[in-house]
Each structure stands twice: as C-alpha cells, then as structure tokens.
C-alpha cells in the first residue's frame, strides 16, 4: 500500500493544480450558483402596467402600494399603449383602475373596481393579481368596517359619533401595531423551521450533480494509466493491474470523501443545510465506482470527458437538480433517480444496484495482463 501511495503522490505532484481545481469545483460551483441566483432572484422584477382612469388619493395610494412591492416594476401609461405593449409581451399584465374608484370604495361598493388583463404568455400574473386584490381588499374592508360601526352606533346610541376617516385610521394603526397572524412551515419528521424563502435550487441536489462531474473528470487517470507504457512494468511488481487500479481508486475515493466532509461542514455553515454523512459516503462510493467503470469503456481521455459532460447534463436535467426548484416536479420515480441515494438515503434503488452488479462483473472478469 505504501508503494501505491508514493507512486500516486508522485503523479499528484505533477497534477496538483488540476486535482485541486476539481476537488474544490463542486463546492465552489454550488456556492456560486446559489449566491448568484439568490441575488438575481431578489432583483428580478415583473413588469406590470397600471392604467389610471382617475387620479384621486385612493388610486394614488394604491399605485404607491403596488410600486413598493419589491418584485414588481410598475409603469403608468395610457390604456391603448398598455394593451399594445401587453400584446407584444413587453408587459406581464396590465391593471386598469376605473373611474369612481375612490367614490365606490367610500360607498362600500367593491364590484369591478379594477380590470386585469393578462396575455397567454403571462407567467407571473396570478401572484401579482393576488397582491393587488389583497391591497384593494384592505381598503374596501376598512370602509366596510367603518360603515358597520356607524350603523351600530346609530342603532345603539341614536347618532353617529365617529367619522369614516377616524375609523379607517384606527384600523390601520391596529394592523400596523400588532403583528397578529403568521404562518409557519415545518416538514413532518424534522423539527427545524424552514426559512421563509425557498432557495431557487436544492443545495445538495446541485452539489450532487457537480460532484458527479468532478468525480468523472478526475477518474480519467484510469484511461491515461492503462494506456501508458509504464503500466507494463506492473508485471515486475507484486501488484496485478486490477489491484493497482482498485487500490488507486480507493485512494482517490478517500481523498474525495475527505473533501466531501469539509464541503458538508462549509455548506452547513453557509446555507444551514445538513446531510447525513452516511448518505454522503454511499453517494461518493457510488459515483466513484460509476466513473471507474465508465472509464474502462474508453481508450482516449478526451472522448471520455466529453461523454462525462453530456451524461452529467442529462442527469442534471433529468433529476431536476439543475432546474429551479419552483418548476421541478417529482416526476422521476425515486428509485430511478441517481440522486436518491444522496438526498433520500435510498440504497435499494436502480442505480446502486446496477452499478453494484456491473462492478461485481468487472471484478470477476479475467485478468488480461498476466505475468
């Protein structure tokens, strides 16, 4: 074993830049993708057109509210222009505030205050609509409360003592002062409270795909060393080719797993997402074996690497790890997803079994280079 380690270290001495790069790659790539998409998600805005058919305090206040929503970019423009731009998909949706808006609210009449237009390509229409409806509803609800109070006062004390403005202001302060109702999401099984905002990507899914890529690319040593002339000299040592390859890949797997543990700790500190180390170990063994076996099919490292990129891309999109979580359905059954040993600790699924069987077959294959 000592000899294997020394020879490996001699190799690594020459390749240390590339080795370090690919060891760190999964971690760096995961962190940067998540940070960049987080930042972009915060800045991404939905372009919404607002048509003002009356300019009163109430409509102005509504426009201000819509403008203050962080995820909306509001443009105020005349109706014909707004609809034209909506048709050209320059705007996601258009909201027209009708005339008599203020008057209708004050009269506690809330039917058809606003017309909403969407096109067939409006991706973000319903959250924007929900938000605007809730703002208007707030205003009309307050007006309704004021009416009720005045009515009750009339019934029980014979006269109305309070003005609508007072009541509305009172309701506003009550709502502002008391943070009354909140919601909280936990998952069955774990007791930690989830963050309020959902990450655009699943941290460990992303890491799983990137480390699959780096494992595959690092294992091109199998091809290089099988092709090299030096390998013929193994006959003069006490190692067979098979044991040489196996011990070396074990060494690689160990180094990779140590990096994984460091990565897991760092990811936990950065994103607060932990993963069972056993899953990590199983997944690491799995992808290293897969890379090792795949490498035996190729004679030139270049083709192997190109195929590795293609396969990883397929796996990334197939499992949905490279797609934003918002649009990812669990369409792939758990047993068929290559990431399920990592994410769900699912050992008895398709890929571990397939890789295990292939590995055993490879082990039983006859040694080609015998002394």
């Amino acid at each position: 074993m000592k000899q294997i380690i020394t020879t490996r270290l001699m190799h690594w001495k020459k390749q240390w830049v590339s080795l370090m790069f690919w060891l760190l790659f999964p971690f760096v790539a995961t962190v940067s993708v998540i940070m960049i998409t987080d930042a972009l998600q915060d800045d991404a805005q939905i372009p919404v057109g607002v048509v003002l058919k009356e300019e009163t305090d109430a409509s102005e206040a509504l426009v201000q509210k819509i403008k203050s929503a962080p995820f909306i970019r509001t443009t105020i423009l005349p109706e014909d222009k707004a609809l034209y731009r909506l048709e050209k998909h320059d705007l996601d949706s258009v909201f027209t505030i009708h005339s008599n808006f203020e008057q209708k609210i004050q009269q506690n009449n809330r039917s058809r205050l606003i017309t909403a237009y969407q096109s067939d390509l409006s991706l973000a229409y319903s959250p924007v609509k929900e938000m605007i409806v809730s703002y208007v509803q707030q205003e009309t609800g307050r007006a309704k409360a004021a009416f009720t109070i005045q009515e009750l006062e009339k019934r029980y004390s014979g006269q109305t003592q309070s003005t609508i403005e007072d009541i509305v202001a009172k309701s506003k302060t009550i709502q502002k002062e008391e943070d009354l109702l909140s919601t909280n999401l936990t998952f069955h099984g774990d007791h930690e409270t989830m963050n309020d905002t959902q990450r655009p990507f699943n941290v460990w899914g992303l890491w799983g795909i990137f480390s699959l890529l780096s494992a595959m690319l690092l294992f091109d040593w199998v091809i290089k060393e099988k092709q090299s002339k030096a390998i013929w000299r193994l006959t003069f040592s006490r190692w067979s080719l098979k044991s040489y390859l196996l011990l070396n890949s074990l060494l690689y797997t160990l180094v990779l797993f140590m990096t994984d543990m460091l990565t897991a700790v760092s990811l936990y500190y950065i994103f607060g997402e932990w993963l069972n180390p056993a899953n990590l170990l199983v997944y690491r063994l799995l992808i290293c074996t897969a890379a090792f076996l795949l490498a035996h099919l190729f004679k030139r490292p270049f083709y192997y690497n190109t195929v590795a990129f293609a396969l990883v891309l397929l796996a990334g999109i197939g499992t949905g790890a490279l797609l934003p979580t918002r649009i990812t359905a669990d369409w792939l059954p758990d047993f068929a997803s290559p990431l399920s040993p990592l994410l769900a600790g699912n050992l008895l699924s398709l890929w571990p079994l397939a890789i295990g069987v292939t590995f055993v077959l490879w082990l039983m294959r006859k040694e080609q280079y015998h002394a």
Binding site: W22, I46, P47, H89, L123, S134, S182, T183, L185, L217
Partner: protein, 406 residues
C-alpha cells in the same frame, strides 16, 4: 492562398472523421432533442397539474370553536370546485397518519386560535409539509400566506369594531354576538374578494401563442447544443508533438480552427434548416421567402459568433477538461441571456440594459420579431460588428498562442 488551401484540407479531413464515425451521429443529433424534451416534460407537468390527482391538503381544527369550524367549512367547500388543490377537514391523528402518503401538507389551527384573534394576540398557523413533496408544501404555504393576509385585515377591522363598540351601551353577551356575526360577515366578504376585479385575457395575433414561442426557443436551444456537440466532436486533442509537426508544415492554429468552424457551421446549417422547416410547418407559421433569407442570415451570424467564442476559449484554455467546462459554461450563459429559457422581460433591469450588446439576445430577439411578430425588417449591423470583433480577438488569441505557448 495557403490559408484557404490548408483550411480546406482540414475541413475535408473533419468531414471524413464524421464519415468514419457515422454511428455516433444519431447520438449527437438526438442529444439536444432529448434534453429539450426532458425539460419540456418537466415544465409541462408543473404548468398543467394532474386534474385527476389533485394536491391534497388537510385542515386540522385544534381549537374547535364556532369560528374555526366556519373557516374550515368555507375553505373546504370553496376548494371543491374545479381546483387542483383539494382541502379537507381531518382530525389530528388522521393528518399525522396520512402526511407520509397522500397529503401534501396539513394546516393546523392551534388551540385558542379564535380567542387570540379577538384579543389581538399573535397566533401562528402551523403548516406541516410532506418531506417527500417539498415543492407542493411550499405552494400550500404560499396559498396560506395570502389567506393569512386577508384574515389579518379582517381581524384588524373586527378589533376596530370591538374598540368602537366598547363605549356604547351594549351588554357583553350581545357584543360578543355582534362580533361573531361580524366575523362571519368578513369571512364571506373575503371569500368574495375576486368580485372587485374583472379579468380579461388578451391574445396576440394567431402566431404568438406560448407554443410558438417555446417552439422557437426549443429550436434555438437545439441548434446551439448541436453547434457545441459538433464542435467538440471535431476537436481531437492531438498531442503537442502533432501540433509541432503541423507547425513544421506551416499550418497555423487559426487554419485548423477556421476549418472546424466551417465544418460545424455547414452541418448545423443543414440540420438547422431541416428542423426549422419542421417547426414552421408543424406550427403553420406564415413566412415569406424574404423572411427565410433574413432568418438564415441571423442564424448564420449567431452561429459564427458563438463558434468564434468557442474557438477563442479553445485557444485560451489548453487542458481539455477545463476547456470543456468553459465551453459548457459559455453555452449556458448564451442560452440564458438569449431569453430562450426565461423570457428576457423578467430579467432585472440592469441586465436588460446589457442585452442589446449580447449577440445571443440580439439574435433571438430578431428571430422572434420576424417569426412571431411578423416584422419585415431585421437589423444586422450590431451582430455584424460583434462578429468582426470576435474574429479580431480570435485572430489575436490564436497568434498569441502560436508564439507564446510552445
């Protein structure tokens, strides 16, 4: 002259490689198609949730007051009609049992919920999600957040009413009754919130449905990946010795790159034309013959710039792993910036200002204008300038490489 002769020689040798490895061709061709269809399948399964298998959400009443019963009944009945979210009242034990199976999430109304609402104490609605269905759980949470926003307003209003009623000569019991009545009123009022808005859908001319848009986007993604695939296919990493021997024959890196770009472009043009013809005929998009020339020119400009940058990356990064990584990264950025994946309309504003300077978004924008919006004009000047820049830089890097890297 020698330049052209050498380039032609390598061009022919590239085509020969392809001929020799013909069995790989279907794989190269199908790869992007499979990728795009995978993405489409995933996206469609989100956009059109299964009507037969609605998302099931449980409502658990721990408070058991008149008000919570009313709320739950109302939610239950309103979710019956046509929605893909189905809510149902469950006991706590039922919910606990089912959360690992059919339920996507359950919402529990805590003990003393109503009491706190009337007293103005803060309460929390607990959503317990199914760990196996995280995306759906977040969806339920979002839904509940919007519900909570409405309840908050109603609650503030009820508290205001209570406040104003206190000085009035009303018995405590009577006042409680009035408040319960008000609660009911506001609940129904909230349920009817969609009344205040009338909705209309605008459709563009016949040619601009999402299917057309995403069809064009898919075609764009597919040809981009074809370009990358064929370019990588023609890159055989000859060792340094081979390169040195080539140099002795007076062959430059630039000649080999030119040959590679031409070969890739030629093959992708043929494939692109066939697939574009399929797209246009399936979608029945009316185009005039001049339009085809415009589209061909735009696509050619886009392909050449993209391949030029790929070649540039090849000259800069010598190791083939890092080169493949950079080329994949470039492809990803190009596709994202073009708007073929997410329409550019939703980008942050500072990025939208950059878009006119990017070849990918320029190309895709003009393709959209011609094919989807029926315009009879395209501005080739920005992309031509970008192509010139790319060629200049490519010549620069290849000369640099020839001299500096031995």
């Amino acid at each position: 002259m020698t330049f052209i002769r050498h380039s032609l020689l390598f061009f022919k040798s590239n085509l020969k490689t392809l001929q020799r490895k013909l069995p790989v061709l279907p794989l190269l061709l199908l790869f992007p198609v499979i990728l795009v269809s995978l993405m489409a399948v995933i996206a469609i399964s989100i956009i059109q949730p299964d009507e037969d298998e609605p998302l099931r959400v449980g409502l658990v009443d721990l408070d058991k007051s008149q008000e919570t019963e009313m709320v739950i009944e109302l939610i239950e009945s309103s979710s019956q009609t046509g929605n893909y979210i189905k809510m149902e009242a469950l006991t706590e034990e039922q919910a606990r049992e089912q959360i690992n199976e059919q339920l996507s999430a359950y919402v529990s109304f805590p003990k003393g919920f109503t009491e706190s609402l009337y007293n103005g104490d803060s309460v929390t609605l607990e959503v317990t999600g199914n760990a196996g269905r995280r995306t759906e759980s977040y969806l339920v949470k979002e839904l509940l957040d919007s519900l909570a926003r409405h309840i908050r307003t109603s609650q503030a209003n009820i508290l205001t009413i209570d406040d104003y009623l206190k000085p009035l000569p009303i018995a405590d019991d009577k006042r409680k009754d009035i408040l319960v009545q008000q609660f009911k009123d506001f609940l129904i009022y909230t349920a009817g919130k969609d009344k205040l808005l009338s909705e209309e859908q605008i459709t563009n001319q016949a040619t601009s449905s999402p299917v057309h848009y995403y069809g064009l986007a898919a075609w764009f993604i597919i040809i981009t990946i074809w370009l990358l695939a064929f370019y990588s296919f023609f890159s055989n990493d000859d060792g340094i010795r081979m390169q040195n021997r080539m140099r002795l024959y007076g062959v430059t890196v630039l000649q080999q790159l030119t040959a590679k770009i031409t070969a890739t472009c030629l093959i992708t043009s043929v494939l692109g034309a066939i697939s574009f013809y399929l797209y246009v005929s399936i979608m029945a998009i009316p185009l005039y013959s001049e339009d085809y020339i415009r589209i061909a020119l735009l696509t050619l400009l886009y392909c050449l710039i993209y391949l030029g940058i790929l070649a540039m990356l090849e000259t800069i990064f010598t190791g083939h792993k890092i080169r493949l990584l950079m080329q994949s990264l470039l492809t990803l950025l190009v596709l994202l910036a073009s708007g073929a994946i997410i329409p550019t309309l939703y980008f942050p504003l500072y990025m939208q200002h950059l878009l006119p300077y990017l070849f990918a978004s320029e190309g895709f924008r003009w393709l959209q204008e011609i094919i989807l919006n029926g315009r009879f004009y395209a501005d080739y000047i920005p992309m031509t300038l970008m192509l010139l820049c790319t060629v200049m830089i490519l010549i620069g890097t290849s000369v640099w490489k020839e001299r500096a890297v031995k």
